[in-house]
């Protein structure tokens, strides 16, 4: 009797107890999302709205330089979009970023492949080496590239020795090439690490299976390893292309006036002429262009994981 009674109690307790955790459970997912939403709000949404409001401001009549009032002057956009002097830097930004992305992919993919499959017990060491440059300031590293690419530097000397440059003419810094090389160098880890992450997940058994099914060596790579690493390639190219298109440090430090990127124009408008609305408008134009390019790219590459 006592056992049955005890069991009955347990059951009743369970029945009473069960709805409560369920009711609490309904809010748990939202609670868990809260930190992420807050982060997005504070660090993405608020600055974006502020910047957008700024892009609609107009100068205070008779005010000082850099004094603006909040209006909704959409003509700011028309003004910028009809000014041909912005076209070349914008175009240049995308060409430089695209070149740097391709170069970074050509260097980063083999590097990631080597680390993932061939580095053996030194794998972690190589990974640290990929990240190690981050311990030195971005600006300092870029300035160091001036030395490397300078006319008296090792690269030019080597090229002269090979006979690529004759004495007197030729040089790398400052030039478009130097800017692209700088961009490539600075964003290489952003290319390498995502590719490494997706290569590392490729089961070596699949490569063996490809070899067994008449796809040895490079064919096996092309048919199995490469497709399976595409999510990493897409992530790496986006992580390289997007910041590279908006970069201005490399163009400022490794280029000359003929290598101005749109980032430099935004920088100039913000800090030199204090033309905040124009700078904000340019930022939005850049953002829209990048978004368009990225959308087309992701559609074309078509990885289901991203869209």
């Amino acid at each position: 009797m006592s056992i049955a009674a005890a069991l009955g109690d347990v059951q009743r307790d369970n029945l009473q107890g069960s709805p409560q955790p369920q009711r609490r459970g309904r809010f748990v997912p939202y609670l868990l999302m809260l930190p992420g939403l807050l982060w997005l709000g504070v660090f993405f949404l608020v600055p974006l709205v502020t910047l957008f409001m700024m892009s609609l401001q107009t100068a205070v009549p008779g005010g000082e330089i850099g004094e603006y009032e909040q209006t909704f002057h959409f003509a700011n956009y028309v003004e910028v979009l009809t000014d041909p002097s912005y076209y070349t830097p914008l175009f240049r930004s995308f060409v430089y970023a695209a070149c740097a992305t391709v170069l970074a992919l050509l260097i980063g993919y083999p590097l990631a492949y080597f680390i993932a499959f061939k580095s053996g017990r030194f794998r972690n060491l190589f990974l640290i080496m990929v990240i190690a440059p981050f311990f030195v300031s971005f600006i300092l590293r870029t300035i160091a590239w001036r030395q490397i690419l300078a006319d008296e530097g090792p690269v030019v000397a080597a090229m002269k020795w090979v006979g690529f440059f004759s004495d007197g003419i030729g040089g790398i810094y400052p030039s478009a090439l130097a800017v692209v090389l700088g961009l490539t160098y600075n964003f290489l880890p952003f290319m390498t690490l995502p590719i490494y992450a997706s290569l590392e997940r490729v089961d070596p058994k699949l490569v063996e299976a490809a070899g067994d099914l008449y796809a040895p060596g490079f064919t096996g790579f092309r048919k199995v390893t490469l497709p399976l690493s595409m999510p990493g390639v897409v992530a790496g190219t986006l992580l390289t292309f997007i910041p590279a298109a908006g970069d201005y440090v490399n163009a400022a430090l490794l280029g000359n006036s003929k290598n101005t990127m749109i980032g430099n124009r935004i920088d100039y408008a913000f800090l030199n002429t204090n033309d905040y609305p124009t700078a904000a408008v340019l930022s939005f134009v850049l953002m829209a262009c990048i978004l368009a390019v990225v959308l087309v790219y992701v559609r074309r590459v078509g990885t289901e994981d991203l869209l």
Binding site: L206, Y214, K223
Partner: protein, 390 residues
């Protein structure tokens, strides 16, 4: 390897000659000699680390032998690249390409070889494994059993001379495994390709294979049909690894016609001379192991038993433990002479289970016992690691 024979078209028996593989100081496969007849279902059975997977990988071309040779028919394939050999593998955990759909997975090998009839062959292979309806799905959307069958179709569609199966059913649950065993056997009979099946599961090997080779420490302990191996094991390892055996140390006392006479602390036994494992010295006075399978032993209540059977082959003892498993009851009986004998009694009548402590008499037909070398460890192979081989 300049040979006139095109290895990719090789056909015939698979022959391994003095095949050896060493990893540093460790000899994984030791001077293996083996012929697998064309069209047979052959199982390499052994505990993990016995060298069976290494042997398979050498046949597949994924591992290069340290010494020896591998041939299919007249063609030497010892050093051929994996894709050059008429050999395909069903990998452990299948290794299906996750980015390709089922159709493309099966078509993979055909497309690489520029086969002219990809579509027909792929559909035939999918028909064979009864999975044509999933051909546009990705491997991740299939159950384990379905993935297993696709892996099989992907290999078979290339019509290799030899198909290698590396622990093919290891990842499936028991029920599915039983079902797939029948399925694999059906498919093998249908396509007539030589199947070489590597497994640590003795039941799997015995139910499917025509010939089973039991491997231990890099060498083949014994090879034969499942019935031969089970009924007439040649070594203690085989006797214990395939099913269970009672191996009782005994001394040869003499002969009586075609029978050997033996004795141990529990009494006298009689075993036909034909049941002596090859190479075992059975001259009078030698120590040997008398083996009896637990299910071959008859147990009866000592109080109900009549006179001791005149043929010998009986021992008396007390039930130490009784394990009811449904189909049978498994007893451990402690004999008066100090041995522990396992006995499986089929549950023919309900409620007829002996309690521990019951005095029983065990007896068996002389022809059901076998004799092994007395120098062997009676427990060899009894408690080997049951996990999948690495």
């Amino acid at each position: 390897m300049a040979r006139s024979i095109d290895v990719t078209q090789a056909d015939g028996d698979l022959t391994l000659t003095n095949l050896t593989k060493r990893f540093g100081d460790f000899t994984a496969v030791d001077n293996l000699v083996l012929t697998v007849p064309q069209g047979s279902f052959f199982a390499l059975l052994g505990p993990s680390g016995c060298g069976k997977t290494t042997t398979l990988r050498m046949v597949a071309g994924l591992e290069e032998p340290t010494a020896g040779s591998i041939a299919i028919g007249d063609a030497d394939i010892t050093y051929s690249r994996p894709y050059q050999r008429p050999v395909n593998t069903v990998f452990q955990n299948y290794a299906l390409f996750p980015h390709l759909d089922i159709y493309e997975n099966v078509a993979f090998g055909l497309r690489r070889r520029k086969d002219a009839e990809v579509d027909r062959k792929v559909k035939e292979a999918l028909e064979l494994v009864e999975l044509h309806h999933v051909m546009r799905r990705k491997p991740g959307q299939l159950s384990g059993g379905q993935q297993q069958r696709i892996a099989l179709a992907r290999a078979i569609v290339n019509r290799p001379a030899v198909l290698l199966l590396d622990e093919p059913l290891g990842a499936l649950d028991l029920k599915l495994r039983r079902q797939m065993q029948l399925e694999l056997k059906r498919i093998q009979t249908e396509v007539g390709i030589t199947f070489i099946h590597v497994t640590h599961d003795q039941e799997e090997a015995m139910t499917m294979a025509d010939t089973v080779a039991v491997m231990n420490a890099g060498v083949i302990e014994q090879m034969g049909s499942p019935i031969d191996l089970y009924e007439s094991p040649n070594t203690a390892f085989v006797a214990n690894f395939l099913g269970q055996s009672n191996l009782l140390p005994a001394t040869v006392t003499g002969t009586d016609g075609d029978d050997m006479l033996l004795s141990d602390a529990d009494g006298a036994f009689r075993v036909p001379r034909a049941r002596v494992a090859p190479g075992v010295d059975v001259s009078a006075g030698r120590r040997v192991l008398v083996g009896v399978r637990p299910e071959k032993i008859h147990a009866e209540l000592l109080t109900m038993a009549g006179d001791a059977p005149s043929h010998g082959n009986f021992v008396e003892g007390t039930v130490a433990s009784a394990l009811f498993t449904g189909v049978s009851t498994q007893y451990e009986v402690a004999t008066r002479g100090g041995d522990v004998i396992g006995v499986f009694v089929q549950n023919l009548r309900p409620g007829a289970v002996f309690d521990p402590g019951t005095a029983v008499r065990l007896s068996w037909d002389a022809g059901f016992a076998f004799i092994l070398d007395g120098s062997e460890d009676p427990n060899a192979g009894a408690h080997v690691d049951d996990e999948a081989a690495g």
